[in-house]
Symmetry: C2
Subunit: 322 residues, 2 copies
């Protein structure tokens, strides 16, 4: 079923007018939902939205969860127990549910009123990755419930993002290799960004570096940097800083100015230089994380190569009981 059709069905089949949209998942899938929640939190006049790690949602769901709620769930494997349980709780409360997964036999689909099996592996078709798909579903529902004044610009952005990302991936290949060579021996990174991008900042820290490379990483919001975290800055500590397109860009630029002066190991990834300004400025910032996910994936791939630590090696996940 197409995303637009799912959105239409949700609205048509709702017993009560939708009032809340909850985004519920764990780890990398939760990361991918940050931007959809960010968009609704900033743009909607009527919809309440929430971003929950599955097990917190399971242990303590919001009291308002009910027939007027939509719960969007995502599990790449489709069998993440916490997310399946979150789906059960949502259903029991009367909410409508949508499950996103890569696995067409996923247990998650049993608790989902609607399901979307996404493709995976074609890195150049980011408009079909879970991040873009979930954001699109949020926008399609938002458009139908309330009307989104930048709806057509958003849809146009979706049509352009694949080309922008493909171009950006090519552009950063050499930089990513140089970064990996220079930073192969580091044990800790500070990852910084703002606005809609922050989900990917958190995600690059916990998934790409901690999970896939067993390296510690601190995710920091650019707007928070000068209120504590910046005191760790010195010439030895490596930073990765994203410069987003959009309303929070000046916050990232302020961090850059500081780091240029007091740090030395700085990798800056600039959405503007990478071509994201080809998307209409009313919506471009929501595509920052889509771009940064793909570009940062080139960095982690390069790092994994140089460190001879393949991205799929785990010591606990799927190896031991916990």
């Amino acid at each position: 079923m197409k995303i637009e059709t799912i959105a239409q069905n949700i609205v048509d089949n709702s017993e009560k007018k939708l009032k809340e949209i909850y985004f519920v998942a764990c780890g990398g899938s939760l990361v991918d939902m940050y931007v959809a929640n960010y968009l609704l939190e900033h743009e909607s006049l009527t919809l309440t939205s929430g971003w929950f790690t599955s097990n917190e949602f399971v242990k303590f769901p919001p009291k308002r969860l009910g027939k007027q709620s939509l719960v969007i769930l995502c599990s790449h494997s489709g069998n993440t127990l916490e997310t399946i349980n979150a789906g059960k709780i949502a259903k029991k409360a009367g909410a409508q549910t949508v499950g996103f997964t890569f696995n067409e036999k996923a247990d998650l689909l049993e608790t989902a009123d609607y399901s979307y099996i996404y493709d995976w592996g074609n890195e150049r078709e980011v408009s079909n990755n879970p991040m873009a798909l979930i954001m699109t579903l949020a926008v399609e529902v938002f458009e139908r419930i309330e009307g989104y004044n930048n709806y057509s610009n958003f849809k146009e952005g979706l049509e352009r993002i694949d080309t922008i990302v493909a171009h950006a991936e090519d552009l950063v290949q050499q930089r990513a290799k140089a970064f990996a060579n220079a930073r192969a021996g580091e044990k800790i990174f500070n990852i910084i960004g703002s606005g809609a991008t922050f989900g990917q900042i958190y995600g690059f820290a916990i998934c790409s570096l901690m999970e896939m490379q067993w390296l510690n990483a601190v995710p920091i919001n650019s707007a928070e940097f000068f209120h504590g975290p910046f005191e760790v800055t010195d010439k030895e500590l490596p930073f990765i800083l994203t410069l987003s397109i959009g309303r929070t860009r000046s916050l990232d630029e302020r961090v850059k100015k500081f780091l240029d002066r007091y740090a030395q190991k700085i990798e800056v990834i600039d959405a503007k230089e990478l071509g994201l300004d080809l998307i209409n400025e009313s919506v471009a910032e929501y595509f920052n994380p889509v771009l940064f996910y793909s570009v940062l994936s080139q960095y982690r791939k390069a790092l994994a190569n140089v460190r001879q630590h393949p991205l799929d090696v785990r010591r606990y996940m799927g190896k031991v009981k916990y």
Copy 2:
């Protein structure tokens, strides 16, 4: 003006019925607001709430911000520019504003319809620290707008928390010293907790360790730990784990079980053992962060002593321009 009076005035003077409460601050003050937002997000059927770092709120305020909104601001010094600007934007949109500060001549007070100058320094009167005060204001408004079924239990909790915290602070003195002696040479910590406590997990990382000790620290939600971060676990990496009272406790216990097996440098701080279960279980979990803030402050004090790095030393904040 008493918190109850401020709440009553807000409700009485509201041109439109309150629909949103936003918590806006930076760094340590933002940390202190996490629990108030968490409480409303979970308990309220009608109020939308949001937790924003000031400069993100300034650059991109939610579109719904208006006469039906309440914006609660906090700046310890009272002169945090980003938070003052957030107050101006809230006022311009027609929202009501409350400013919390320690400084009675604070610039923040100029953009605040209501102000609360809190005391500071009496570590044993936590019911009057900004965290408890802001949560109390949120509860008092919530009670008046919608009714909070655990209101009287919450008020009773406020009466008990000072005694519990004082007792807990005494209890952890020796442990904090032992922790500081054992961990004085570490450069990176993972800080873990869940639920209402997570604000303090983030705060201990960015303020107590990064800002005050120039040590890197990764804040991790217990519910997220097994979805990425746990792959960094080994016997060399130091962990600080809070076991909260309440609905998310089992998530913390799951982390403890894992760490007991695969890590060695583990400091566990248990709200139950420290007496938080003296508060009615319907509201006890909201007092976790109040307890943990005070208890963790003993740990940071001990660490600062052993490391001979006083808590008020800065190299950038107030020293250089940025």
